[in-house]
Symmetry: C2
């Protein structure tokens, strides 16, 4: 007999469905089908589709903010901390791919989506301040605005959810390494 | 009296709605409201929402493929051609932002979406071959796979649709320049 689903497992499954079909196109029927249980059993755990989205987005954002508390994010020069953060964000993006995919794609159509976008902006502002510090130290290029640099670097890193599939295996560590190499040193040899 | 809408203007308006709300969440009512006409008048021009999507995606893809026919894409070293293409793709992404936004977000839920994804893959394969050529010439870094480099560079470039708003003005040429600088030389000074 299969163990009854807990809310965390249901969130996992919902995130997979939302990432694959898109949140707006996905229905609770899709989630129920993916979980192999009835819609009624899902409603036993959670109020609805938006509550699953809210949990999923929180999981993604908590993981990103936790990086800022790690030792590598608070020791060393601004450029060293930045490099550490970009690497860890790429690793988390790959490790929690469905959750991050959903986070990157929300449009702000509802209050839940807007709250998540606001938290993400706070994260970006913290990193932008670090980029500015690295520019002032002469370590980051200063011919491009710090906010634009931050967005371009995360644009590159976030794109992995569009093309990398770990298919349930541990994500290839080479991918996060490639993101850091390309973001900091560029395509040129 | 307002001039009656043609199909091209309607496609423009629909792309704006799809880019803002997401294609799946957007309805023909939303398109009619944005156009300031009735749904019936839209159906006079076009079979439905998917036909508008198909036109919009074709416009985005035609613009990308046209770049490959330009002089800068066929003269010079592989690295020079690559730099030209990345710059022009960034410019087009900004100039046709709603169309490209919709293209970047489709998930392959329908045949129309899958066809567009297939054309986009063909484009990526052509650019990947050029990256490989630049690697063989010693101009592009060869510690990262050519396919991954291509995806990371376009990931960075495509991200502009997520954060840059031209608000109807001519897009700032500094943005496309920043994409090229960051993609080829990286964040490091």
């Amino acid at each position: 007999m299969r163990k009854p689903y807990g809310i965390e497992t249901l969130t996992d499954i919902a995130l997979g469905v939302f990432a694959e079909r898109g949140y707006d196109a996905a229905s609770m029927d899709d989630v129920a089908r993916a979980a192999g249980i009835t819609k009624a059993s899902i409603y036993h755990h959670v109020a609805g589709k938006e509550a699953l989205l809210e949990r999923g987005l929180r999981r993604a954002l908590d993981a990103l903010f936790a990086v800022l508390e790690e030792g590598g994010a608070s020791h060393g020069t601004a450029m060293e901390r930045l490099r550490y953060i970009v690497h860890r964000v790429a690793e988390i993006t790959l490790a929690l791919q469905p959750a991050l995919t959903v986070l990157f794609r929300i449009r702000g159509n509802t209050a839940v989506e807007r709250d998540a976008i606001e938290r993400r902006r706070t994260f970006d502002r913290i990193v932008t301040a670090l980029v500015r510090e690295a520019q002032q130290a002469g370590d980051a290029r200063s011919d491009v605005d710090a906010g634009i640099l931050t967005r371009l670097v995360f644009g590159m890193s976030n794109s992995v959810v569009e093309w990398y599939r770990s298919d349930g295996r541990v994500p290839d560590p080479e991918i996060a390494r490639a993101v850091v190499a390309c973001a900091f040193e560029g395509l040129r040899s």
